[in-house]
Amino acid sequence: MGKRTAWQKLKSEYIGRGFAIFCGLLIVILTLSIIGFVAFKGLNTFIKHGYSLREFLFTSQWNPDSDKPKLGALIFIAGSTLVSIGAVIISAPISIALAIFMNYISPRIGEKVLQPTLELFVGIPSVVYGWIGFSVLLPFIKKGFGGIGFSLIAGILVLSIMILPTIASIASDSVKTVPQSYLEASYGLGATRWQTISKVIVPAAKNGILTGIVLGLARAFGEALAVQMVIGNSIKFAENLLSPTATLTSILTMDMGNTVSGTAWNDALWSLAFLLLVISFVFILAIRLIGKRGEIK
């Protein structure tokens, strides 16, 4: 059998390999261009309009359409932070409980019932969560606790359900990988199952659990429509759990369609979008850091 001709080589290997390499590079190009384009628009506020970054991040006056626009984004930053952290506080303990239950209390129920349950929670679209929040949760809060229904707590509750599967599935993966020998050692010392869970399994899996929590936080931070539908979108700080507020994503959803490209208002919205992007990148770096810490040990 002779050597392959150049054309045969091209057909049998290089076209395919070229396509695969192109696809790999495409992902990098896409990521870079997303960052590039959003940054290009988002930095206009500071470069073209000369607005100071400090005022943007740390003041809370938002009057983007006046002659001398005030672009303090602190309300949205605080809103996003509170609503995401609130959601994680509710969701994380439940998720860890689910992860432990699925792997150590009853793997059979875990596999047959809880796994599909979590998959369905992931599958329900965010507008449906928002709509149910709007039509069920808001009237309930209004009747039971007063206020207008639209509130921080409504956003927290809706989000906590939405990030539950994210945290639970990653926590489950990590408690699953705790070495069997740890368990045997613990049981051998006479520990009960709960003592083993709380003193051995959870500490051993804490990096994975932390990764799940950060990913859940990232998802909560970036969720737009479900939050926007229940949080009230009033541009003021939330005084308590029952008062309405706004988040980075909700103001973007509401206002991006009403503004004209090139105005200070529009550019300020792009700055908010860029801020969201930066925050999600920080979460990624945090996860990588947690992963590294796990490797060294």
């Binding site: 695969a20 696809c23 959003v38 507008v127 709509w131």
Partner: protein
């Protein structure tokens, strides 16, 4: 408290929490389906929406959702599988691979509204297309590419090594081996991933608000051009999907029976998600059976 009792109490608590989560899901889906009751009536599913009066349907939106799904899968699946092949077969450990992995992680964690705004900037404004179905499909493809890449990579990695070596040993090139030996065995697993991605695409709204637009022209099925704006299959027309419609009903409420329509449309969405999920599950089981040799 003695530790045996403590153990019993915590076991009870864990059972309780897990039970509550399951009950919550059943209640949620039950509520949506009951409220959405007669959502499967043809006059609702295929009827045109009405402005200012009650009794409208979701025909164009439902069609748009499906069409959007097909177009965006046509765009993203080849690239997803290609990138998966690269990562699993060609890429070597090193800086480039590390950069690609970081890119995938970054893309996967981007908030969908940010992807939508990127779409607005590039696929809507820079191309001068305006709000079109194609812009929306491209934005959603960006959103789904990381997940599809991961699924393909895992599927290709799990293909049996001896078969691959046999193929290479017979003189096949690496690409021939991938195409003729590895991909066929990885396809079922990739398909499961695609179906799950399809469920997500079907429900996505944030990335579509400012790319595919919030209007759904009435569709006339006598025209089947891909470019002509009045054709239902046109890629260059605004295409409001079902999820975007639910959001719009809630925020603008231009019909008196907005909440009824939103309830029913939610039920349709949830039924679709259940169907996607179920088919992915059945497919997954089939794969498992064929791998373990039970059938």
């Amino acid at each position: 408290m003695n530790s045996k009792l403590k153990d019993k109490i915590w076991t009870g608590i864990l059972y309780g929490v897990s039970g509550l989560v399951v009950i919550l899901l059943v209640a949620l889906i039950g509520y949506i389906l009951i409220k959405g009751g007669d959502c499967l009536r043809p006059s609702f599913l295929f009827g045109n929406p009405k402005a200012g009066e009650a009794g409208g349907g979701i025909g164009p939106q439902l069609f748009n959702s499906f069409y959007m799904l097909v177009v965006s899968l046509l765009i993203s699946v080849p690239f997803g599988i290609g990138a998966g092949i690269y990562l699993a077969e060609y890429a070597r450990e090193g800086t480039i691979l590390n950069i690609i992995r970081l890119s995938i992680e970054t893309m996967a964690s981007l908030p969908s509204i940010v992807v939508g705004l990127f779409g607005l900037l590039v696929f809507v404004n820079m191309t001068h297309w305006g709000f079109t179905l194609l812009s929306g499909a491209l934005a959603i493809s960006v959103l789904n590419l990381p997940a599809l890449t991961r699924v393909s990579e895992n599927a290709i990695r799990s293909a049996a090594k001896p078969v691959k070596e046999a193929s290479l040993g017979l003189g096949a090139t690496q690409w021939q081996t991938i195409r003729k030996v590895i991909l066929p065995s990885a396809i079922p697993q990739i398909l499961t991933g695609i179906i799950l991605a399809a469920g997500r695409i079907f429900g996505e709204a944030a990335a579509l608000l400012y790319t595919a637009g919030m209007s759904a022209p009435i569709l006339h099925f006598d025209n089947i051009s891909l470019i002509d704006k009045s054709s239902p299959f046109s890629l260059m027309r605004p295409a409001e999907t079902l999820s975007v419609y639910i959001w719009k009903l809630n925020s603008e409420g231009m019909v008196p029976d907005a909440s009824l329509i939103a309830n029913r449309a939610s039920a349709v969405l949830v039924i679709m998600v259940l169907l996607f999920n179920l088919s992915a599950r059945i497919l997954g089981r089939k794969i498992h059976e064929s791998y373990t040799g039970k059938k």
